[in-house]
Structures are given as structure tokens and as C-alpha cells.
Amino acid sequence: MVTNAASFGRSGVHDFILLRASAVILACYTIFLVSFIALSAPLTYEIWHGLFSALPMKVFTLLTLIALLIHAWIGSWQVLTDYVKNTALRGVLQFTFVVTAFAYLAAGIVIVWGV
């Protein structure tokens, strides 16, 4: 067995499930948002504000942001372990990616709950 500590999940199976579960949430959110924009033409500020004022949409958006964080964490870990063989450099890059992903999540929470 090969061990790893820097990925989000604690095992290959865990990562596999998390990647797919987060992908489903991201796909649902994308389909919903694209459909909403397509069906709400002309899209005004009031309609957009109304959409994001509703609690279910805030929760859905928060869930999507968390799914994005998990998806990006596992994805970046997989890409970096493929292409960056220097452990120190990979650690720095992984740290940067994860911190950036957390920053996006924090910013997203503030923005969505500020509506």
C-alpha cells in the first residue's frame, strides 16, 4: 500500500467518492444557474437579487463553494503529484492552492450572506 497525507481524503476510495459527489453538486449548480439565466431573460438586478436573497439559494451556493474547495483540493493534489516531483516545491504549491481555495470559500460566504 502506498500512503499519502496531503490529499483531502484519507484514502483513494475517500478521494474517489468525494470527487464524484462534489462533481454532482457542481454540475447541478451549473445547470440550475445557466437554466435560470436562460429562462429569466431579460435578467434584471431585482430578479438576480431576489434569487440570492432566498435561504435555499444561499445554502445551495455555500454547498457548491464547499464542493469546489474539495474538488480543487483533490484535483490539484493529483495533478501536482503527477508533474511536480520535488517534494518541497510540491508542498509549497499545494499549500498555495489550498489556501487560495479556502480564501475563495471565505469570500463566497461573506458575499452570499451579505445579499
Binding site: M1, V2, G12, V13, F16, D82
Partner: protein
Amino acid sequence: MKLAFSVYRYNPDVDTKPRMQDYSFEVPDGSDMMVLDALLKLKEIDPTLSFRRSCREGVCGSDGMNMNGKNGLACITPVSTFKGKTIEIRPLPGMPVVRDLVVDLSQFYKQYEKIKPYLINDEKKPAREHLQSPEERAHLDGLYECIMCACCSTACPSFWWNPDKFVGPSGLLHAYRFLIDSRDTATEERLAELDDAYSVFRCHGIMNCVDVCPKGLNPTKAIGHIKSMLLKRAV
């Protein structure tokens, strides 16, 4: 009709870096031959050219190489496949080159060894042999035929980047062959050994292995079955 070749040449004892060498010879119009026959002809022209071959009929898996960008067995690849273009022959990608078209497959065999490619059965020994029903035996079809030519594993980017951690399509095809064998009792131990982020899950299903397998096997499908077994075991 002229057959033209561009062959990868590298002798680490003499050359500082690899180079491509051009060869050509005449054949009667409308005739065909296998790439291996052409290589044997080239070896008559230039005896320093090195490559592996043995059975010359797609059974031993010795002459796996990269022909015009695609891995395959030289002995069962007709030169007519390349429609008169110059045939570029290179060693299997991602493996250390021993000389010319001969590569060092140690890492490939290490991964094969890792999956314990033999029957493990801790039950009481039967009087004569472990019996299997025709249905149980049918599960091994599409798995046992692998000749370990390494065409699949050396066409897999995941194996290129992590040959020490990712078992690779060939090894995993063999792993599933024993996981699904009704006579094998070490299923749990085999799965436990594969249950990490690299050994199986580095396969992202791009199916290069299926595309190049000279025996028409489907390692991606076998890997999918192993992933399902690991998932069932975990949830």
C-alpha cells in the same frame, strides 16, 4: 516500392544523446510484411540495431515498441498500416532505454510482482485440483490472455508519472484476474494492498491501454471492477 523508416538509436556506452536514423529498402509493388520482418531486414543492413523479438506471432510480447506514435507488437503490425508513410519506430515510452529499441522493464515487473500474480488458497487442499464451474471460469476470459508486452502500461500517463506507485493497466488486469478467480481466497488481502490513492485510483479512465492492447483486452474495465470492489468494501 520503397519502404522508409526512421528508427530511434541510442547506445549509452557510445552516444551522448539519442538520435533518429533513417533507413530504406525496396520491396516488390503490392507486397506487405510485418514491421518485425522489416526490422530484421534493417538488422541485415545495420547489425548494430538492437531490438527484442522471439515468437514473431504476437504470443510472447517481446517486441512491444512505438510505431508512428502508437504502441504495438512489431510482429503483428503490417507495414501497410502506415499507408506508405515513413515509419517512425521508437522504444516503448517512459521506460529507461537499455539500447536502441530495448527498454528496461524492471519497474513494470516490480508492479506485476506487487499484485501477487499467483493463486492463493488457504483452504484444505483438494484431492486432485481446485474445481471451477464453467461460469466461474468464464469470469477469467478477457483477463488471463494478457501477454505482458507492456504496450498498455507504457501508453499510460499515470504510469509514466508514477511508475513506482501506480500498478498500471497490465498489473491491474492481472490483479482483477485473481480477485475474480473463484479458487482464490485472498480477496480481502489483495484489496487491502490496493486500497490507497495511487495503486488503482491513479487510473483516470483515459483508455490509452484499451486503444493499444495488441490482444484486444480492456484493462480500464478491469480497473473499474477493482474500484467497485474497493468501494463496496469501504461503504
